[in-house]
Amino acid sequence: MEYFIELFLGGLTRGSIYALIALGYTMVYGIIQLINFAHGEIYMIGAFVAYIVCGVLTIYGFHGVSILIIAGLLAVVYSCAYGYTLEKVAYRPLRNAPRLSPLISAIGMSIFLQNYVLLAQTPDFLPFPALIPDFEFMEPIAHIIGSPELVILVTTLVTMIMLTLLIKYTKIGKAMRATQQDMSMARLVGINVDRVISTTFVIGSALAAIGGVLVASYIGQVNFYIGFLAGVKAFTAAVLGGIGSVPGAVLGGLVLGLTESFAAGYISSDYEDVFAFGLLVLILILRPAGILGRATKQKV
């Protein structure tokens, strides 16, 4: 039983990270029907910025949690800037082009950003310091869930609650929903749709950066290529939950994380990806629009 709980919490941790990144995919898709393949690279850049900031701060004698917070904030700022620029440079000029064009542009940006970091930094794996300390109050349950897992769970939970409130109650959140539901009507009530799209990229990038920093600190290394797998997994989570649906992305992330965790724990960690993608295939056969996705009617 204890092993089950351990796997469950491990899966939840993993899944909440997938969910965090998947939100960026799903929000962008919801508004402009584009799969932003460069989203994983934004995540990677977030982790890299945090790595650099950590190095600098360590020299100046900062410690553990304070480094994590400062590095996290700077990673968010940088990633947001990258996300904003990415949309402006690679997607906005193609707004009225056929749907395949921005998709190709997205793949291009993904490759470009990977190689940019490869050249500007290094092709090697870099050791990322473990910034999350072991809390004392966690000791009695440390064999089930560690402090890093707890921090990840709490951070992602708080982030998602904030995002939900933002979408539901703020002016920009309402503008995002209106734009998602009917873009030209949104323009007719006076919403600056370009600004809404930019904001969506910025918010998605911030979430990806938070995910990047948490994972890098958890796993303990960064590399120019980490965005690829994280991106694929998060994309899977978004599709699993129903791409375009915000609660769907969260649910998809958690389902994917739990599946992987149980597959690794009860069968073999060699097979976790097999189960993850097997699940995706299964869901796509049974519910092509995803768990919470609604089949969209195509207007002719």
Partner: protein, 235 residues
Amino acid sequence: MLRLQNIQTYYGNIQALKDVTIDIEEGEIVTLIGANGAGKTTTLMSICGITPPRKGEIAFKGSRIHQLKPESIVQLGICQVPEGRRIFPGMTVLENLDMGAFLRKDKAAIKTDLDMVFDLFPILDQRRSQLGGTLSGGEQQMLAISRALMARPRLLLLDEPSLGLAPLIIQQIFEIIKKINEESGTTIFLVEQNANQALKLAHRGYVMENGRITLVDKASVLLENDAVKKAYLGL
């Protein structure tokens, strides 16, 4: 108040509007009638900046607006109730109305206007927390008109408000349009296929065929015009 001068609008290489000239005076109800595909909706979308004209000029209260973005045009007080109502389906009635007032910051006045709209359409008050997509066609049309009113328009553009509605509801909608015009002095530009009703309501009318304006006159004169009778009134 609004002047379209020789505007030409294209979709790609296809010309939808050919030298369209329309004048609307303050306080008027002007209607634009014509068959399907004549270019009526395009005319409205050109005014709102969604499909800006390639040539020609649109002026509102003396200043040119045809190069402005849609949100700046809304800010000037030109609001559209588009064809098919275009309610935000996943938002509540209240949120839909809220979106109508998107560019306004005068919270107290927004509240007053909300009460005014609920006075006009009491059914919307009852449905205030219901999702827009679950309303009936008539209710959606009322919501679409109310959403536009929430922006306090100086000029209200209506695109086929009678489309797909029951005769009794159409009657009600047209009465409300008249009331909006008379009580708040809002200028109204009404696009309709229901030519009979529209001409009875309007002061003046334009007839559009294949992207061109073919007739302009007082609505009462157009109602008696033989060509109009034959083509649009089924007489």
